[in-house]
Symmetry: none
Subunit: 418 residues, 2 copies
């Protein structure tokens, strides 16, 4: 069995609202072993909706429609389903009673317009909605079953889980498991080359890559007739990917570089401080996004002016005058200054040209010096790295923060401070 999802609403085709219903339904269907062939978004238009439903029903066995079941004039899904099925609409007294009961239970007055919500295409089933006024619909069109749910995510989700999941779980003979492995430090093409034949088309589990804000993600999708088989194949492929990518991998699914650093810091019982210029607090903010980060993060300095670099972190004025604020000596002095003042084991310091202004031939926009201090044999061991990031101010700041966190992660994995 395959599925196709249709979302209805002018707010969607106008771009005023982002469709989150289709991704949610896709995740649910995928977990139930039902591949989703696509999502289609159409406006509040009877003919366009009817045509979309008719075409989807001709090519797939399960069609899910969200939106357009409300009581107003622009809610046309009922009419469109009747058109697609080639049947008239009829008022169903049991559906009308259900709508009336909802209003009574919620102590609201049912207006005349709500009466249209009890209309069903002839031969269709209506689906009870205990979160709102709009009943859902189930219609057979040819070989396909078409379900229509309200567009309000809370109502749609409740109805999907109640009316569809039990049936689908019983029918589906296939299981699909997915895992997303997150990497940082190499480009998508380099990761693709390391993965090699794992990415060949037609392989099961399927392996694919995507890149977003410097993070290259490896998606694995395992399909089998039993959960045990799907799980075993997924694990084998994930193990193969781990062997090929090693420490480039920092986590899976919703993991972040800051979380990966946090796990290592906690394991090693170490603490961190930050000293930021170009990222302006962004690294500290990412770290403190994590619940419990106070176990290993002591705090940080945002030293945006040269004067504050000196007064708050003790960066010598003559270093700044001689080498400039964006330089290896200043980055190192920021790291050691923060380390001493923060009483922490590790420090990360960033100073760079985020742009759009401030670039020079020598230090173009995107130039960032990152210094890292970790415990060494005879005191803090400080390393520094110069990086040139592409993109605009936001991209440079984002990539600089991730690169700094990744430098710390790699140092901790190599046993820095052990």
């Amino acid at each position: 069995m395959h599925a196709f999802i249709i979302g209805i609403g002018d707010e969607l085709t106008l771009g005023q609202t982002v469709d989150t219903n289709s991704p949610w339904l896709s995740e649910q269907l995928t977990a139930l072993g039902i591949p989703v062939l696509g999502h289609l978004i159409v406006p509040d238009d009877r003919a366009a909706t009817a045509a979309a439903v008719r075409q989807a029903a001709a090519t797939t066995e399960l069609v899910l429609v969200t939106g357009g079941l409300g009581p107003t004039q622009d809610d046309l899904t009922r009419d469109a389903l009747a058109d697609a099925a080639g049947v008239p609409l009829e008022e169903r007294t049991d559906a009308l009673a259900a709508v009336a009961t909802w209003f009574k239970q919620h102590q609201r007055t049912m207006s005349a317009s709500n009466r249209v919500q009890a209309l069903c295409p002839r031969g269709a089933d209506w689906l009870d909605n205990d979160c709102g006024t709009a009943p859902g619909l189930r219609v057979r069109i040819g070989q396909a079953t078409v379900y229509a749910f309200p567009g309000v995510p809370r109502e749609m989700k409740a109805m999907f889980l109640r009316h569809l999941v039990p049936t689908l779980a019983a029918q589906s003979g296939r299981v699909i498991l997915t895992r997303t492995i997150r990497t940082f430090g190499e480009g998508e093409s380099q990761i693709g080359e390391r993965l090699g034949d794992l990415m060949r088309r037609g392989r099961n589990p399927v392996v694919g890559t995507t890149v977003s804000l410097g993070v290259v993600s490896v998606r694995v999708r395992s399909e089998a007739s039993t959960l045990a088989e799907a799980e075993a194949a997924l694990q084998a492929t994930v193990a193969d990917i781990q062997a090929r990518l090693g420490n480039l991998i920092y986590g899976a699914d919703d993991d972040t570089l800051a979380r990966a650093v946090g796990r290592l810091m906690k394991e090693r019982d170490m603490t961190l401080v930050t000293a930021e210029s170009c990222t302006g607090g962004g690294v500290a903010a990412q770290i403190t996004d994590i619940p419990g980060s106070s176990d290993w993060f002591r705090g940080g300095w945002v030293v945006y002016t040269n004067a504050l670099k000196t007064s708050a972190l003790g960066v010598p004025v003559k270093l700044i005058e001689k080498d400039g604020a964006v330089s290896e000596p200043v980055a190192r002095a920021m790291a050691t200054g923060a380390l001493e003042r923060g009483g922490a084991d590790c420090a990360l310091a960033l100073t760079g040209v985020a742009g759009p202004d401030g670039g020079t031939a020598d230090k173009p926009v995107g130039t960032v010096w990152i210094a890292l201090a970790v415990p060494g044999a005879g005191g803090p061991a400080v390393t520094a790295q110069r990086v040139l990031f592409p993109g605009d101010r936001a991209a440079v700041r984002d990539r600089a923060g991730k690169t700094a966190l990744n430098m710390l992660r790699q140092a901790l994995l190599r046993g820095g401070g052990a």
Copy 2:
């Protein structure tokens, strides 16, 4: 002219990623007077993509495709466009040179797999991408023009604005102008009451409200046959809204509270420092997101531990022991400590319980003390406010930062420090 948008990617049909490209493109096209007939999402599948492009090209004049232009084996948009147009793929030496130049400029090594990014369907135009490695494509299929852009939102947006907008604006005969007015400090229903009859259905310009993360936005959409008419009607409605909402308005469109604060600080030639505990650098990060913020932002402290509150900002140990770290005296001491050490005119300090742990009956999760120091007649004037924010850790941190920036904004508007 009408448009249809196709998004490509397994991550989309699996529901792992929410498609934000299509809504963004829809907003842009709507503003240009080009109605969008629908969005279709298909997996990384050559045949499905080719079929989708072929069908869209048969029914509309403008087809926009996003995704699948990367260098890996699951990037099949080039092949699918060639299939849909019924032509072979060819390597274009000029496109290859552009990809090679990008790698050279960014001091990275071009791998063999990137060579496929220079393939174009015969007769197609390739579109320069100055934000990444993937060139876009423009292909004629029957009466339709099909544009393919990379799926990375930043690259897609830059290429759309550069390669499409100038052409489309010249072709369209209708004008739709939109403006979004941003407010902070009151709820959506209160704003709705102030707007009253401006929100009635059928009015042109249309006025509506939405709320996201504490910001209530008032959207205005003006439609006319000429730019002058649309502009005049838009301006009149915006002026009316401004009269009704006054200082609740901090800006328009992509404006942020931090930008609004920045404009006022610059006008008044004043400087700011921050002292953050619960927001952990988030306020400084929002401020330094803004190009040129170094004109008025000197820097900040992230004092996550009590020890650092004392050592870095001079908050007396006995205050923390007596009143707790989340208290009015500590917030005030953080603000004055930062003001003195940073040599700035104004200071913002935040200390609170972001959660999920750390709440007590007295100070539940969401409790935040915000202190603000601005210049007064006889030295710094410090005010403080206790706020209780609903929601999870991310919501509390976000709302606390916005409330602090809004306190500063209101103080500056009242003439604080004048």
